[in-house]
Amino acid sequence: MGNRDYDLFGPDAKRAVESGLTAAEWYHSDVPRKVMKELMARSDGPAMRDTVILYGAMIVLAGLGIALWPTWWSAPFWLAYGVLYGSASDSRWHECSHGTAFRTPWMNDAVYQIASFMIMRNSATWRWSHARHHSETYFVGRDPEIAIMRPTEMAKLIVNFFGILDVLKFIPNLVQNALTGPSAAERTFVPQAEWPKVQRVAQVHLAIYLATGALALAMGSILPLMVIGLPRLYGAWHHVMTGLLQHGGLADNVVDHRLNSRTVYMNPISRFIYWNMNYHVEHHMFPMVPYHALPRLHEIIKHDLPAPNRSIAEGFAEMWPAIKRQLAHQDYFLKRDLPATAKPYREDFQLYVPGMMPAPAAE
């Protein structure tokens, strides 16, 4: 395939549709219907508990940060608050966009709106981009959420650990959305009936940022921005770190999530921040299983999946050399071994599109 064009209007996008890749059926591990129904069952309990802990901790940490401001003693509290604001909001946004975190719809929606604001995503746009990410995970030119494009621009990847590129992209987009609605690219995946909503959401977000900025000016201090806005930068690193692991170094243009997604065992704090999305193969294969049931799902299908990485560090140790190798060989990807108990990768899935996938480049 060689050089990739990630443009949503580009030749690879066209080819993915014309070749039938976008219509191909994804692989699923076998799970008996009765078990799957139990796994998909909704409840409010776990997400209510986690939400009280999250927002409670944010209030306490921000309160301590404000109380100790402007001394350096406030720094650790801001760092912790920042991760909850700039990283935990990513997973809350994600789970609530699937509508699976809570059983009660308004609770999902409320947390979704708050999280979308914190993570600086338009709640009306990103619902659709994420739907596409699930239908067409890592299809070049079709998936608008490809975090690591090939060849990877390493400097950008590193700068974005502080959310800098995201925010630089977000601000003009926010202003454009607020003034004229969705951009041309956004109009490819957001249905027309939703365009006014995109604009309204952008206007609300913009108004909050302008009010926060005005308060900061009036106080002659950046303190209001330490609470709203800046934590999206200084607390972004955790969601970038976990987000890169999701698909980094793995295959693109395939219809088997075992080939393009990564499950990583993580420490309990990271799992709280990330809301169990470390079970990423499981999540992509069965997106309607709520976050709190993913560890159970993992136990049920792990015999059919590549062995998970045992830690974040191990995940990076596997991923980083692959990303580096893709700098020179864009078609290279990690093809992880399956256990003997697994159904083999179906070559016709990977090679579904003649000419899109090279012969497996695993080593």
Partner: protein, 102 residues
Amino acid sequence: MPWIDACATDDIDAEDLIRFDHGGATYAIYHGVDGKFYATAGKCTHEDVHLCDGLVMDFMVECPKHNGQFDYRTGEAKRLPACVNLRTFPVKVEADRVWIEV
């Protein structure tokens, strides 16, 4: 429109659905929380995804892909990203068999 014998009543658990294929088309047949049976088109209106792997909660069926939701009694789309209603089909039960009119 012909009536088709689709399944036995006890083929579907209460508050669940099954897939039924006939004449090149695919349908979803539901055993509702009210004990009655219902039928809709078998695939989501958002994308080409079978509803039979989704979850039935009360009178709602959830698409297993993006959680678009439909009221399976009326076919009405209730949650984005599903915006287009699902087709529904008349159902009758005779001698423990579920029939749908297609």
